[in-house]
Amino acid sequence: MYSKGLASPMAFRKQHAAEPLGPLEITVMEILWAHGESNVHDVMQRLDRPLAYTTVMTTLDRLFKKGLLDRRKSERAFFYLPILSRPKWEQKRAGEFVAGFLNGSEPSGEMLLSCLVDAVGSYDEALLDELERKIRRKRRELRSKA
């Protein structure tokens, strides 16, 4: 039920290292590593759960801004490609994790919680708009039934 897109403990530790990646971002990266250059529609079709176009588009854009993806425009759509191969990316992340650990920057319980909340601030408007639309739709359905 909730296990869809569940990151493993290893993936979890990686995403909480220097540059955090969300479960959806990791899933999208895995799709791009497996299938190569793709646009938003290609990624949507390969996801294991249905997601809104804007959600996938925002995720790809966020990965692009984090420097993990390269993109080119073809006609009216962007095509995304991972900059690093999966082994190279894992090697880089492992290096960052070890460096963080040796520098004593492994977050304590308090720091960890603080970081998790910071993620709320980074929510993009597109996703929040999408969620609000869903709520309005559901409210209308409920009222029409009543």
Binding site: M1, Y2, S3, L6, S8, P9, F12, R13, H16, G22, P23, T55, F101, G104, E106, S108, G109, E110, L112, L113, S114, L116, V117, D118, A119, V120, G121, S122, Y123, E125, L127, L128, L131, E132, K134, I135, K138, R139, L142
Partner: protein
């Protein structure tokens, strides 16, 4: 190094704890992903309980081993009450045991102190009001959007003025019911226990995965409790979540439970609320499993408390110590 009888007992307890805790911690870490998958099939409250139990299991069992095996075997079979030589490796292991406790307790005390300071600051700047359902709430004038439960022993609902302005009456009521559910579940106390529970190794948590998913299921459980199966309340809470997320967030203390504690789970929480029906608990044999576990534990305890078992433990500790 030569140690007196009492100090040897302390070193035995610390080293035994460290070895048992590390071994159990590694097993729990290995089982964590499976446990989270299993938890996803349970009701959120049961799932949170399961993950919390698993998180505390290594420390609980290791302490139990110290109390039931280590200390009795030492007191019964350690005949030399004078000074005795102890190996450096054993002392190093005992030091690691001491370190993980010192680090954990310091983390807990720091978290509690920060929380207390924060509450005091709010007391000066805030104003107590009775909002929906007559709940006493501190309204603060902070620019940071806040709708939280803060504190451990006497937790307080804290709402900032900008959240009051942004939420409708129904949304605010749903948000406060959500925080009230955290209060009833004593989630802040559990957070304090998590801060004080030792990690697998000194300066390294190792249980962050379990703790993250415990927090996630605790949020789901609070959502379900706040909504109580009512479709309108579900929609109001979902709308409140999105509104608060839109307002953004700032710094917060470890011992407060926020309406949007983890932004990454926001989408999942809203989707759950829009399903308008709480997930069914498929684990109908939960209580039977607990009783079986208790029975097996009691049998194991009876076996361990036999003099032969205690003597074997003592021999093993003696060999490792020297």
């Amino acid at each position: 190094m030569i140690l007196a009888y009492d100090l040897r007992l302390v070193s035995v307890c610390l080293a035994f704890f460290f070895l048992a805790h590390t071994a159990l911690g590694l097993i729990v870490s290995w089982l964590a992903l499976r446990a989270v998958r299993l938890a996803a099939r349970l009701r959120p409250a049961s799932a949170a309980r399961l993950l919390l139990t698993l998180r505390f299991l290594p420390a609980g069992l290791a302490l139990f081993g110290v109390a039931v095996l280590c200390v009795p075997s030492y007191l019964k079979f350690e005949l030399d009450a004078g000074m005795e030589d102890v190996g450096l490796a054993w002392l190093a292991v005992a030091s690691l045991g001491l370190t993980i406790w010192v680090v954990s307790i310091a983390r807990g005390v720091t978290g509690a102190a920060r929380s207390l300071r924060y509450l005091r600051r709010q007391r000066h700047s805030g104003r107590e009001m009775r909002l929906s359902e007559g709940l006493p709430v501190w309204v603060i004038e902070a620019a940071t959007p806040l709708c939280a439960l803060s504190g451990v022993l006497h937790p307080r609902l804290v709402v900032s003025r900008c959240v009051l302005r942004a939420l409708s009456d129904e949304e605010l009521a749903a948000a406060l019911r959500h925080e009230r559910a955290h209060l009833d579940a004593r989630d802040n106390l559990k957070r304090l226990c998590l801060l004080m529970a030792p990690g697998v190794a000194p300066l390294h948590g190792g249980f962050a995965f379990l703790e993250h998913h415990w927090a996630r299921f605790a949020e789901f459980a609070a959502d379900d409790r706040a909504v109580a199966g009512d479709a309108e309340r579900s929609l109001s809470l979902a709308a409140a979540l999105v509104q608060v997320a839109r307002l953004g967030s700032g710094n917060w203390t470890a011992l407060e439970t926020r309406l949007c504690a983890d932004g990454r789970d926001l989408e999942e929480r809203v989707d759950r609320l829009l399903q308008l029906a709480p997930p069914v608990d498929r684990n109908r044999h939960g209580q039977a499993v607990w009783w079986c576990g208790a029975a097996v534990g009691a049998c194991l305890l009876a076996l361990l408390l036999r003099p032969a078992s205690l003597y074997a433990v003592h021999r093993a500790i003696e060999r490792l110590m020297h």
